[in-house]
């Protein structure tokens, strides 16, 4: 449906004769095409602006003016810059020095947190850990049952002392789950929380209370790859409301370009750690910045 950035830039550069410095007009035309490509990939506008400023600088330099094919050279630069931002320093999960390691999941409604809880549990179990899932979404209808089914499918324990559907205190459940994990010798605790909006002050406070009750080593912000321009608002709201140490992108099995990855990474500086790409437990991978860059550019 969309022209690829490569098609777009080739059009810009067809008029260009031979080698030589790009004129300011060429640079502007190039920037315009990159801007459109990124916006069509749902990269947030302020992030697009920052990104283009960086690329423009490099595009005026020697590496482009000396290139045989300036269009390809610009694409190479764009791609490199994307990978650099998306990748940064990749890192592994942080583990607790003593006691169980706690991973808390947070995000908007329907982002894929509960599904991810199961995937993470399975992933960790396969690495020899003994995880327990904690049902701290006591709000969404049957979220507790959902987590129980997910736990059963993943073959891991589920700590669900409260029925949910509005009954029970999620902060208390989260707090007690640490005791439970110690007693039952689970070395990892994965806390599923209710979906919440960034602007819902009460719910953000609840998330912060859950965080304080379990003192997690990791708080993972779970974000749907289909999200558009709102990615920035939401990421900032979660960053300031509860804070997070890593990002998980979900629903990457679709055809959304996933510009939200760049938006969230750019505005929060937190690394994207995992990719969720399907509804089944095994549809889970560590995050690959290079694949994501190609995807955003439609290559």
């Amino acid at each position: 449906m969309f022209d690829t950035l490569s098609d777009r830039l080739n059009k810009v550069f067809t008029g260009l004769r031979g080698k030589g410095r790009l004129s300011p007009a060429d640079i502007d035309a190039t920037a315009r095409e990159i801007r459109i490509a990124l916006l069509e990939a749902d990269v947030a506008l302020p992030v697009v602006r920052q990104f283009i400023a960086a690329v423009k600088e490099r595009a005026t330099g020697e590496e482009v003016s000396k290139a045989l094919n300036p269009a390809q050279q610009v694409i190479k630069i764009v791609n490199e810059e994307l990978i650099q931002i998306l990748g940064g320093e990749t890192r592994r999960l942080q583990f607790a020095k003593t006691g169980p390691t706690v991973i808390m999941l947070a995000g908007l409604q329907g982002a894929g947190k509960t599904t991810l809880a199961g995937k993470l549990a399975r992933f960790l179990k396969d690495q020899g850990h003994a995880p327990v899932l904690v049902a701290a979404d006591l709000q969404r209808p049957n979220a507790v049952n959902q987590l129980q089914v997910v736990g059963e499918r993943a073959g891991v324990a589920v700590y669900a002392p409260q029925p949910g559907n509005g009954v029970g205190d999620p902060v208390a459940v989260a707090k007690d789950s640490i005791e439970f994990a110690l007693r039952a010798q689970h070395d990892m605790v994965i806390v599923d929380t209710a979906g919440r909006l960034g602007i819902d002050a009460d719910m953000m406070r609840q998330a912060a209370d859950i965080r304080d009750a379990v003192q997690p080593q990791e708080i993972l912000f779970v974000v749907d790859a289909m999200v558009g321009q709102d990615a920035v608002n939401t990421a900032e709201a979660f960053q300031s409301g509860v804070g997070f140490t890593g990002v998980v992108l979900t629903k990457l099995d679709g055809d959304a370009r996933g510009g939200a990855a760049l938006s969230v990474r750019s505005v929060t500086g937190q690394p994207i750690m995992f990719a969720s790409n399907g509804e089944k437990l095994e549809d889970f991978d560590v995050f690959h910045p290079d694949r994501m860059a190609s995807r955003i550019l439609g290559m």
């Binding site: 069509e40 749902d42 987590l147 089914v149 749907d224 321009q229 629903k251 099995d253 939200a260 509804e279």
Partner: protein
């Protein structure tokens, strides 16, 4: 905004408002072009006039004259049937619950069909909604055939003489051919007992440009007759529906404004545009 003249910055702000609301590059460019022409012809000078014109353009793009009534009253002997479809996690099950609430409050009898046999506890979730709002739920075995659950639900609706049967389906990405075929089958099987009166596509307001592709494919497979735009209670503006309506002509009929039973409202193009523009322009 209080500047007297329409300078470049005014135009930039308009473009920015549209882009950051997920209206998309193409629709934004076309709308801004039209607006530029019109302001020239009309000799528009003030920001206030400009905003009014922009509003007009956006409302016009949403085709306010379109029929947005929900077809929940049967045209034949059996119950009216409403099918609810969309990608994962947009709010289909919740919308079924809220819609049942509206109908029950109107004195109608409603039956819910849990044709999501795939997602963990999906049928439980729908049944919880049913008991909240006073509608019974027909469900099948976990992992069972969704088309046969849908068929059974409509059949039960005939037998019980209810007014409306709402069928909740599993979330599926439009790119998954097998799952889209399955949806086509649900539709065909249901239609053996009578027409589907309304097929609602549930779009999440946080969705970016992918929403248009979703709408295109679901419309092809399931003959969507209306869009429900959910999660408008957040900071997302849902501007993608402008492209959806422009390209596909399928009207947005309802909006979701929260997780509670009463958080469903009719779609009003002018209010939507007002919220979309906010105080930016």
């Amino acid at each position: 905004l209080s500047r007297e003249r329409l300078d470049d910055q005014a135009w930039e702000e308009i473009e920015e408002a549209l882009l950051t609301a997920d209206v998309g590059v193409r629709s934004t460019t076309e709308i801004v072009e039209r607006l530029r022409t019109r302001t020239q012809v009309l000799g528009t000078r003030s920001q206030g006039e400009l905003r009014a014109l922009l509003s007009e353009e956006l409302v016009a793009a949403l085709q306010p004259q379109m029929d947005r009534t929900l077809h929940t009253i049967s045209t034949g002997d059996g119950p009216a049937v409403v099918l609810v479809v969309g990608v994962n996690g947009t709010g289909k099950t919740t919308t079924c619950g809220k819609l049942a609430r509206v109908l029950v409050a109107d004195g109608r009898t409603v039956l819910l069909g849990a044709a999501d046999t795939f997602r963990a506890a999906a049928a439980d979730q729908l049944a919880t909604w049913g008991s909240r709002v006073g509608a019974s739920t027909v469900r099948g075995p976990e992992g069972g055939d969704p088309a046969s659950v849908a068929f059974e639900a409509v059949k039960a609706g005939w037998d019980a003489g209810v007014d409306t049967v709402l069928i909740d389906t599993a979330g599926r990405l439009h790119t998954k051919v097998g799952l889209m075929d399955e949806l086509g089958k649900v539709k065909r099987v249901v239609e053996k007992q009578g027409p589907i009166n309304e097929t609602l596509l549930v779009l999440d307001a946080t969705t970016g440009q992918n929403g248009l592709v979703q709408a295109r494919v679901f419309t092809e497979v399931a003959d969507v007759t209306g869009v429900v735009l959910t999660k408008l209670d957040g900071t997302a503006k849902g501007g993608i529906v402008i492209s959806v309506q422009r390209e596909l002509g399928v009207p947005v009929k309802l909006i979701g404004l929260g997780e509670g039973v009463d958080d469903l409202a009719p779609f009003d193009p002018e209010q939507f545009v007002d919220a979309l523009l906010g105080d930016v322009v």
